[in-house]
Amino acid sequence: MSDKTSAANSANDNKWIGQRTIRPDGADKVTGRAAYAADTTMPGMIWGKVLRSPHPHARIKSINTKKAEAYPGVKAVITAKDIVEFPLDKSVMLGIQDMRWMCRNVMAREKALFAGHPVAAVAATSEKIAAEACQLIEVDYEVLPFVIDVEEAMKPGAPVLHDFIKHEGKPSNIAGRLEHKLGDVDAGFAKADVVIERTFRTAPVHQGYIEPHACLVSVSDGKATIWSSSQGQFMVRAMCAYLTGIPQNDIRAIPAEIGGGFGGKTIIYLEPLALVLAKKTGRPVKMVMTRTEVFHASGPTSGSFSRIKMGATKDGKLVAASGTFCLQAGALPGSPIRGAAGCAFAPYDIPNVFSEGFDVVSNRSKVAAYRAPGAPIGCYGTECVMDEIAEALKMDPLEFRLKNAAKMGIKAAHGPVYPRIGFVETIEQAKTHAHYAAPLPKAANGKLYGRGVASGFWFNAGGESSAQVNVNEDGTVVVITGHPDIGGSRASTANITAEVLGIDYRKVSVLIGDTSTIGFSNLTGGSRVTYASAMVVTQSTEHVITILRERAAKIWKIDPDAVIWENGEARPAGDNAGKFEPLSLAQIAAQASATGGPIGAGKQLNTTGAEGGFATHLCDVEVDQDLGIVRVLRYTSFQDVGRAIHPSYVEGQMQGGAAQGIGWALSEEYIFNKDGKLDNPSFLDYRMPVCSDLPMLDSVIIEVPNPKHPQGVRGVGEVPLVPPLAAVSNAVYNALGRRFYALPMSPPRVLAVMDMKQAAE
């Protein structure tokens, strides 16, 4: 059971906001009726398959598609020639993606840059024929030396992926650098009584969404329709337009129900290929990745190598911090160094900070966003060092964090001066929670026990959203937004609309529009959807209420200003407005035609004011010291969510982030073989935790409303993945008395460290 939202925190008299209403997509999902992209089908549909490079790094000298084209059943074969090329010397950005890199990622151009990189694609009458035809394509490769590990890729003499990328004037794998500075770190460290400096490494980990990438594309009369699984139909449309040259008005992107993304579906892989194949053949083309393809060729997050140094005075005040974060971008630039370097020290009031990030390319699949991109990597090192300093100072680790916690008015190294934030509350609640006071089991039977804590930060985001709220003739309401629902946004939107209108939430249906039925809406990502769509939905609904008041005024023949909207009804504002029976939404809707026509309103905004989110996590572990197995026994997350519009979904986000973070800390990793090929491209050997690996993950929702949002919302979905890496690491240290500086803490690694410890004793 999760803890109830504490009453003090949710001082509101809302009827629907904060209710655990029944999710609108639930029944369809558990009965298998929900339509995912792979469920789509069309008359005349054919299948596309991708031929992928077996080499991690190779120049493509030539591609001969003749045999494949002649193979019975094959309708078209495409290569990079069929995709619009963006010249290397001019950046064309779409959100955080550079089309120079996207055009080379969806189809290898000059070189194959990772094992699994698409080099050609085939459309044929069956998936089997398409796969067979791929094997008939002859690619003449000049195999090149490769490098995968981020540290190796930065060394002088490492194979260079792109000669057009230069660092300090020389061709290099360092594709970008970013820094944040505050105060003077040298002066700060000079004042410190305790300084700890450590190096940390993390392995690349995959988002692990259950649903593989899939799409169906149909082109008729020059107009394309794309059904696909993504975190943004507008992103799909824009990228496909760029990569095919078809204008946006001729592409309609329809978001299918999505089976998880976690950031990994904020870019596209199959859609432009299916679109080109559909255009060439005149037939609808369907493409579905296998799980193996998902692992080989869709973006995991970066592996990393970082160095963190922090200093504090004897009385426990942080005085300086510096961090260098080197992140593996994979084949093409774009690793989340902003998240790593920006979030690492953001939870604390540190007067002197230097934080830098390096974006390093290497021969694995191109990085894609993964929940709070970069932040878990940044906070992992910081929070482990925080623990070491607290220990050196003989301070309770939560007390040490509390003493240094960022508050309103503090300037963060990455830029902002914090408004009212709820970080302190997360630490205070952790400190006084029963979990923190509960005794750990005594070591017995080769099992050791430990407890760890860690905090974390994520920026959160606003950005563009559109909504349309329509009142139906029977007084029910349909809301359309432009965001694929990956975290419960439909349920939250229904709660908000019902609240603002004062009607039963069951009278509200929420739909996700496609690119031609709703205005531009940016990605479902950055923890922005409930935040931003709540704003446009609220404003649209308020506009609807204005219209409803006008209609009532018209019926009553009084001034609209003399009509108020209360509890879902229009009422005269006071006795002097006249004496009328209230008019319900349904009554006004029934007279809509007579009073001026259909009732509805839409709003489009580029939202701002999404303030940062903070969390503190507590973790208890058991370590089997003879087998090296670490199990999490108890886990509690404390997070300031601003306002929990739908607490069950908020808890789901908190639990999901903790689960993924535990996997990152203990068992998940990309393992490459000596030929540079991913050795564990399946859920069997890419070890995400299974249900039985985890205890119930408890979540404590803390509500410190965001003053810049109508309902007080802050983003929720990403912060939960930030603290777990360090929370688990600190717990393992507490159990074993030995620190790990690399993840995952898999059994062989734990046992190796235990053996070293025994040898030393």
């Binding site: 087998l627 068992s667 069997l684 050997d685 299974v690 039985s692 059994p747 062989p748 190796a752 053996d755």
Partner: protein, 294 residues
């Protein structure tokens, strides 16, 4: 990919005939939880599939007059789990077979398939080795018996001649004071492949171990019978705290010494070697505790 033929004969003779006639292009299908996965991955492309699940002899668990058991090679794990007397006599064999996969997989996966897939990490195999199971094989030239540890020849390879099919496993009668156990090390709690697997079967008489066999999985190209480990346990006294520590340490050392593992994505050589000894101690303790109750 070529088209695949499928036959499901009712008798073993027909199955052997069809299997032998296809000379190498055929594959036996028991539960299919390895075969179909390998076909989907494109690793195997058989021209003929011979389904053995319709053959009565291969899908039955039979209790022998002498108290032993004969388990058909195509009996699914779920069936073994529900066989109360088998479970009482051979809890280790049953728990090992039941560790394979999930509930869904258990409805299909067989001990025969587990053995014939030839993986050194197959969970039921070390338990069968510890149990001293005898495997009956039938081929174009008739029937023969082999101790189970003699069946695997290397990863994915068996000491079977073309056309031969594994028919059943025979487990011997249990003297009083006997039991067995199986433990595996996996990083997760389920849905994983053994990094090390250990089966121990032993018999005790008046608090002394009189017979013991140890099977080890995932530490060498084939599942091993570790005779030295069994010998180390024989003669040891079982006290209040369980098996004698010195005997356990000796048996554990024998297990570690028998390991010839590889470094791979699932575990390192050092890790597997050490864990083989750890598991021996834990498995033997469970087997001894169970035997003490029989």
């Amino acid at each position: 990919m070529t088209d695949v033929q499928y036959v499901a004969p009712r008798t073993l003779d027909e199955a052997v005939k069809a299997f032998a006639a296809a000379s190498g292009a055929a594959k036996i299908l028991a539960g299919g939880t390895d075969l179909l996965v390998q076909m989907r991955a494109g690793i195997l492309k058989p021209g003929l599939i011979v389904d053995i699940k319709k053959i009565a002899e291969m899908t039955a668990v039979e209790e022998l007059k002498d108290g032993g058991f004969r388990i058909g090679a195509a009996v699914a794990g779920a069936v073994l789990r529900d066989h109360a007397r088998l479970k009482k006599a051979w809890p280790g064999v049953v728990e090992a077979t039941n560790l394979i996969g999930s509930t869904q997989v258990q409805g299909r996966a067989t001990a025969g398939g587990n053995l014939c897939n030839g993986s050194p990490a197959g969970d039921s195999v070390p338990a069968m080795v510890a149990a001293g199971a005898i495997v009956t094989i039938q081929g174009p030239k008739g029937r023969r018996d082999l101790p189970v540890e003699k069946v695997p020849a290397g990863p994915g390879r068996l000491n079977l001649t073309p056309g031969e099919i594994v028919v059943c496993f025979t487990l011997p009668a249990r003297p009083k004071g006997s039991s067995d156990a199986y433990l595996r090390m996996i990083p997760r709690t389920e849905m994983d492949i053994a990094v090390v697997g250990c089966g121990v079967s032993l018999t005790m008489d008046k608090g002394t171990v009189t017979a013991a066999r140890v099977g080890l999985g995932a530490v060498a190209p084939t599942v091993l019978l570790v005779e030295e480990a069994g010998k180390a346990l024989v003669g040891s006294k079982v006290g209040a705290g369980g098996l004698d520590d010195a005997a356990l340490a000796k048996a554990a050392a024998a297990c570690s010494a028998a390991c010839r593992p590889i470094d791979d994505k699932r575990g390192t050589i050092a890790y597997r070697t050490k864990v083989a000894g750890v598991l021996l101690k834990r498995t033997a303790a469970i087997a001894a505790e169970r035997a003490g109750r029989n």
